[in-house]
Amino acid sequence: MLSSTAKNLYWMGRYLQRAKSTARLIEATQRMALQSRGEEAAGVAAIFGMEDEFRQSQAQGERLASLIDFLVIDENNPSSIVNSIGAARRNAREERNNITVDVWESLNALWLELSARLRGNRATLDRGALIETVKKQAVMIFGAAQVTLLRDEANNFLQLGAFLERADNTGRILDVKFHLLRPDGNPSAEGLDYFAWSELLACVGAVRTYRRIYRSSLNPMKVAELMMLRRDVPRSVHHCLWMVDLNMRELADAYGTRGEADRLAGELHARLRYARIDKVFEIGLATFLGQLRGDIGTLSDEIGRQFLLD
């Protein structure tokens, strides 16, 4: 397999996951905005690191709509859903011969549908339907990969990209939203705004999962535990870094070499595996997550260096 193939598959995984995460985040935010007051948009803006630009812009009501457009269809935003899908498709198209027809066709179908929707009148474009399409079809694409791709290095790189992106997304959502809801970092359930906290869970599609696991009312510490430390929750940071580590090990076995990226992947996995949520709050969630997110970024750089992706 070529290095350029590894790179394309890795980024295809990242972009697809990015589009999927953004779609879910917007959906949760919109639902939240329907049932409460107005700061949701600011929270979302913060997740994408655009709080300041956002505060300067228009009236509250228009803000959410324009933010959503920025995240969904804006050509100037390289991480907008439409641009992410376009980038994933470009990566896939360059690797047509290295992915299965099923993966290619489901991704191409999504791109064709988005293109068709965008050709119409922007004013009447149904954003909700577009987001729904992205969510559904992304599941199809990852599903097609799951059941049809050869379990070889190419698959490892695709998985690596997707799980690293997802670990980063979940970490960022938890970090930003927790801070907004509890600037003092207090994990107690006192004076808890039920809607705001269930929205946070909805961002990673885990409202029902929470009830299933804890069978109790919402509690910030448990929310943080679920999103960060639960290995059995497929969007938790722990689960994602476990998968990153697993794929790194498979590559190391195939190549017979190990490097800094392998060490860091193992260390991050172990850190989450053996962390206890009460200890995390002793250090401070913001501190713990800040360190974690920084290390995920370093891991991403190291993977690039080690496998000639850059």
Binding site: L2, S3, A6, R90, W104, N108, L112
Partner: protein
């Protein structure tokens, strides 16, 4: 106007249906236009979903269109194919002998058959390829020979393509589509399969590696996904299970070519390149090329990597060399050519030039190095102004043009907006040469979808058809 064309379905004796087409005629008779229209729409959807697209040059970056596919197959009888097969093999053997000679001793020039300047002054001549001993003496490993039919027994070679001929992916995909859409038609007629092309191509590529004694690593070199034929490059690499590489994936060290992989460098033995000569090696050819690999020609000259098709093949397939091919067959093989050339006037000859200028309205004039149906004049279908404009070009550089009589290309029933109607077609079979010659039955049939048009190129609004070579003279037995 052009003489009445030979219709491959309806030109039987007294206008009856010709034997090989009986199955198709029956099928058309019992299939409603609505059904055909529904099928046609299904096909378009299939091609789009698969991303079997074609980015036309000059169109907006990244724009992708599909080449129209006509659902009525073009049928070739078994004995017709036997005849074509023999003729094609012979012609390609002669072209390969010529290329070996042109970059070697140039015996054919010394024998007074082809003037030496025809080779040496040719813009496509690659001096660095002189004296190379290529495995098996093969230069044109993949040749696309464009044929036209004008009568029951009359086939002509219109053009040889021995640089980087494309279109074979459509042969394979068109067949896939037809089997899906009209299984009943396959059941009624016995058609020779084409699906083994990729296997034969891989075998051919492997057979021309310089290095024996170890498994050759074969790769396909593409200019990248903005190239109009990118789909085909990816398709063939996938079918053969080889790496699809860009110039940036390869490098040369100590005259050996390697590809970059996460495991480290891996040696490359044969490069099936779909990049033009000029862009292959910035050190040896165009220095501004980003598509090639620095040092590639050095590795070739050192006998460490073989490049397929060979460099400098353009001296054998431009439209002025074309006129010499029958002579090549006689000279190198000592045989009479089986396939005929279209009579051709060379505008660099005073008599021919004079004739061409006087008869522009009746004939077809082409650029010597033109391709894709551009830079040509089809006299009978051109306006007076177009003819005058072209005459000016011709006068400025007579040696840049050749001319041929306007042939009445055969027609095949084709499903167009008005229903089923005859449209002109040509045929491009693909001839593989390695240790042996292999030709997958049939080839790419291109069809001019505009009524009366003789230009079949996809860049000029042409479409394609599935080409069926019948397994035996079955149709006659019925």
């Amino acid at each position: 106007m052009v003489a009445k064309a030979f219709d491959e379905m309806n030109s039987g004796t007294d206008g009856s249906v010709r034997a090989p087409y009986r199955g198709v005629a029956d099928w058309l008779a019992r299939t409603s236009p609505e059904r055909l229209e529904a099928t046609r729409r299904e096909v378009d959807l299939f091609y789009r979903r698969h991303g079997i697209t074609f980015g036309a040059y000059g169109a907006a970056e990244g724009s992708e269109t599909t080449i129209p596919f006509d659902i009525i197959p073009r049928v070739i009888a078994y004995d017709e194919w036997q005849f074509l097969h023999k003729g094609l093999s012979q012609r390609v053997r002669a072209l390969n002998a010529f290329l070996t000679d042109a970059y070697g001793e140039r015996e054919i020039c010394r024998a007074g058959i082809i003037p030496e300047e025809q080779i040496l002054m040719n813009g496509e001549f690659v001096a660095m390829a002189q004296g190379l001993q290529l495995p098996g003496g093969v230069h044109a490993h993949i040749a696309g020979i464009d044929l036209v039919r004008v009568g029951e027994k009359d086939f002509y070679v219109l053009e040889d393509n021995v640089r980087t001929p494309s279109g074979v992916s459509y042969v394979l995909e068109n067949r896939e589509v037809m089997m899906r859409l009209a299984p009943e038609l396959f059941a009624a007629m016995s058609v020779l399969p084409v699906a083994d092309y990729s296997e034969e191509l891989l075998a051919t590529l492997r057979s021309v590696s310089f290095s024996d004694g170890h498994e050759p690593n074969v790769v396909l070199l593409t200019p990248g996904h903005y190239n109009s034929a990118y789909f085909e490059h990816a398709f063939l690499a996938d079918e053969m299970g080889i790496e699809l590489v860009k110039g940036s994936d390869l490098f040369v060290d100590e005259s050996r070519v390697y590809m970059r992989t996460p495991r480290g460098p891996q040696r490359v033995d044969v490069i099936y390149r779909r990049v033009d000569d000029a862009f292959l090696d910035p050190l040896a050819m165009r220095p501004d090329s980003f598509l090639g690999v620095a040092g590639l020609l050095g590795a070739l000259r050192a006998g460490r990597v073989n490049i397929v098709n060979a460099l400098g093949n353009g001296v054998a397939d431009d439209k002025s060399t074309y006129t010499y091919v029958p002579e090549m067959v006689r000279f190198y093989l000592g045989e009479e050519p089986i396939l005929q050339n279209v009579p051709t006037w060379r505008c660099d000859r005073a008599d021919d030039y004079k004739y061409v200028l006087e008869h522009l309205a009746e004939i077809v004039v082409k650029e010597v190095h033109g391709s894709g149906g551009k830079g040509m004049l089809v006299g009978p279908t051109s306006s007076k102004a177009e003819i005058e404009e072209f005459a000016a070009l011709l006068k400025a550089r007579p040696d840049n043009y050749i001319a041929q009589p306007t042939l009445a290309l055969s027609t095949c029933p084709t499903f167009v907006s008005q229903g089923v109607a005859p449209r002109h077609v040509d045929l491009r079979p693909f001839v593989l040469s390695g240790k042996k010659i292999t030709i997958v039955p049939g080839g790419l049939t291109r069809v001019a979808l505009k009524e009366g048009s003789l230009v079949v190129n996809s860049s000029q609004g042409g479409g394609t058809k599935d080409t069926w070579v019948l397994a035996s003279d079955q149709a006659d037995d019925r």
